[in-house]
Symmetry: C2
Subunit: 466 residues, 2 copies
């Protein structure tokens, strides 16, 4: 039964945020109030990009665009939101009146979800009336930041697994319900195979996977009886958890169950190891099943793993068929944030920038051109101005219009298409960029036009701070 | 206009999660299916606790209880959820029928939100029919994990600030909309003064604060004109951002505005520094305002700060009145996850545990007794069995019934009461525990009864793994 639309609500699948126009920092509204009072109605362009990457990240997987556009399309202030703003006693009546009819009427240019991007390269640019374009900063950053963080981490996990299946199962330690849904979505985009998150499965049509918890085993007085009970309930899909008491003893009991299933024409799907030395134990367990005549029983491992653990286990030749990855993927433990920013780059007919120490940014609305070498590998980008002629060697132009006058220019691509595109992007990276540690630097060259306009703007800004 | 209730929805303020019964890992449902098939209807008790703390955490601030109870109280499977589960082809009809009428009918015992707890101490315990008590694992962990992580981090930030105001303003890099709301809530519980998150302000009645962004300054051709425009709009509450071009030059222009405001009988509220060497710049800026006769203008600093930066700046005597703390608070950058678990400790009339390497847990439903010394400082806890007599030196008993037969036993406490209680808890910690690094270990002693029952259960479990 579909839920009727509620004005001012931001929907991201089953998650509905009411009064989403207030999903913002107070200063977006106070600045809006000041712009309004001053009659500043010019067109502004903001760029959303990573100012720098964490040391362990060679690239960012751009994600979150679908939600970002849904947020923009639904932006409006409800009477409840306006009453609350009025109650703060900070805003004049004329500005609150302006908010009553405020809609997002601007243009968005963006890279496709799943595109690999690098520092300083805009994931999206918003061009529109200053008050609108400023107001949406916080929500756009929140939405894109989370999904870029998660997809970029998941890409590393999938790269490390070298084609073996990865199940995302960290919902319990994702940062809330929104992050849980997005972790499943982003993990799948970036190459994981399945999620344990049932609501994400329903929402995004993702493959689900799951095994059993230790509580299931320990609820029975006897481990073998627990395994038998689970196999009775799921005779064709049982993955038995072996380490509640002793992994090797558990494996022997699982062989008993595999024999009982085989006698009934069924088969044990797999076993899971969740603690201890996974290299040694996976070898012991693999041997036990092979010797018992069950080479098809899959060995899954889990237990606080990340991409480095996966890489090490596979390099050591651990006979592992699949990985269950939770917490360290779902919170992106080594890099839980990205320095993603939303910067004013043009106001009216003027390029703008700030000179804050270590935070200088490129002026102007941008284009990104990506070159490929003869093998189809990406070979370097040019960061250029939107309004300059493409450089002679320009490849693909990545920033494309997706919204105009506040209206979507085309339907969102199906998630399977986003996943396919992301996979193609990652496959086209040079090996050095896919390394988990000590990755290469990707060449991003500012165009001549961009450098010239930047130099002009810097000179003007410096003149203000003699 | 209140939104009508939707069956099966989990509400956390303005955030509504539809089909919240599916906000779970698949294995909670497959285990439920197997329990159901086997007729396992006994009463189970699960403990939710931190198995160990991150190295930088001396204590955990328990948070999330209100949401956890709201989730339990509203648990039900909608027809849409049941259709989806049916479509998976994994569940038998009898189990799906069982889910139609499933409600949470169990008991919850919990510590009050804002209580300081330590490793192995349950934040809550659920006792109820095995299927229900198992099914709610993922959501309870997700809800409590996020808020414990955030409140514990915020407590460190507030401790470091030693009474100076801290504004939480990291919504843009919180992990999604849910985490953004909860960061504001948890920061306030744990001692921060305000948030920039307007929706959190409306939802929880929190004080809001905000200044301006660089984009506001750079939208004007001239920095002084930007400051004047903002002061015209907010003559009694303007905090001017000084570092768009050069902090000291910016401060001189802000003095001009302060003089203009003073001439009109108004006053500049403060200035913010967001980059550069904050010790040197805060001294320079303070001196500029003092010499100009504006000692009341407050100096705020921000820019990727965490509790260690605050401690260092204050130890060096930086003349800073308030801190704006964002990303590193909102993602709990140094410890973005806690090893929070939900473990079966009793099933029917039997204590249970697992022996998995490094993961052995205490059996049985628990009590926590907290002792205080003559100065009112907390002096040590006893972790005991719920059904044993309290030890002779028992202090306060922290785990109290909050839900019975699926019904709340009392209304949730107001958030101001949670904040007050949390403040009292943190004030009562010995100094060594409040240290940001190299904190002391807090003594938590298992009771004699707990040790005896644990030894029995271990012996029985070992017998299964010879």
């Amino acid at each position: 039964m579909p839920v009727p639309p509620v004005p001012g609500e931001f929907r991201s699948g089953p998650l509905h945020l009411h009064d989403a126009a207030l999903f913002t920092d107070l200063y977006e509204l106070t600045m809006g109030g000041a712009f309004h009072r001053e009659g500043m109605r010019e067109t502004a362009t903001f760029s959303l990009f990573a100012r720098r990457l964490p040391p362990s990240r060679g690239f960012v997987v751009a994600a979150g665009l679908e939600d970002a556009l849904e947020y923009l399309g639904g932006l409006r202030f409800t009477s409840g939101a306006l009453e609350y703003l009025h109650s703060l006693g900070r805003f004049d009546a004329a500005f609150l009146d302006h908010l009553v009819d405020l809609r997002f009427t601007g243009e968005v240019r963006a890279v496709a979800e799943g595109t690999v991007v690098f520092r300083d390269e805009p994931i999206l640019e918003v061009t529109g009336p200053a008050i609108e374009a400023q107001l949406v900063e916080t929500a756009l950053l929140n939405i894109c930041h989370l999904q870029c963080v998660l997809a970029s981490k998941a890409a590393r996990v999938a790269i490390a697994a070298r084609g073996r299946a990865v199940a995302e199962f960290g919902l319990r330690r994702s940062h809330g319900s929104d992050a849980g849904l997005k972790a499943a979505r982003c993990a799948w985009i970036a190459g994981c195979e399945s999620t344990s998150d049932v609501l994400a499965g329903k929402t995004y049509g993702l493959p689900l996977s799951g095994t059993m918890a230790h509580s299931f085993v320990t609820a029975f007085p006897d481990e073998l009886e627990a395994f038998r009970a689970y196999a009775r309930a799921f005779p064709d899909a049982a993955v038995l958890l072996l380490d509640s008491y002793d992994t090797v003893e558990g494996a022997k009991k699982a062989v008993t169950v595999a024999r009982e299933l085989a006698a009934a024409g069924q088969s044990l799907a797999g076993v899971r190891l969740d603690s201890g030395d996974l290299l040694i134990l996976s070898r012991q367990v693999r041997r036990i099943f092979d010797e018992a005549g069950f080479p098809e029983v899959r060995v899954l491992v889990s237990g606080g793993l990340d991409e480095h653990d996966i890489e090490r286990l596979l390099a050591q030749g651990a006979p592992i068929d699949a990985f269950g990855i939770g917490t360290r993927l779902n919170v992106s433990a080594d890099a839980p944030s990205l320095d993603l920013v939303y910067k004013l780059v043009r106001y009216g007919d003027r390029d703008v920038l700030k000179l804050s120490e270590g935070k200088e940014t490129w002026v102007g609305a941008k284009a990104i051109y990506r070159m490929r070498d003869a093998d189809g590998k990406v070979a370097g980008d040019v960061l250029a101005l939107e309004d300059e002629a493409p450089p002679a060697d320009a490849g693909e132009s990545l920033l494309q219009p997706v919204m105009r006058n506040g209206e979507l220019l085309r339907p969102h691509p199906p998630l399977a298409e986003v996943r396919r595109w992301c996979g193609e992007q990652i496959a086209a990276l040079p090996d050095g960029l896919r390394r988990l540690a000590g990755h290469a630097e990707y060449p991003v060259r500012p165009s001549d036009g961009l450098r010239a306009r930047q130099a002009e703007a810097v000179a003007k800004a410096r003149a203000m701070a003699p």
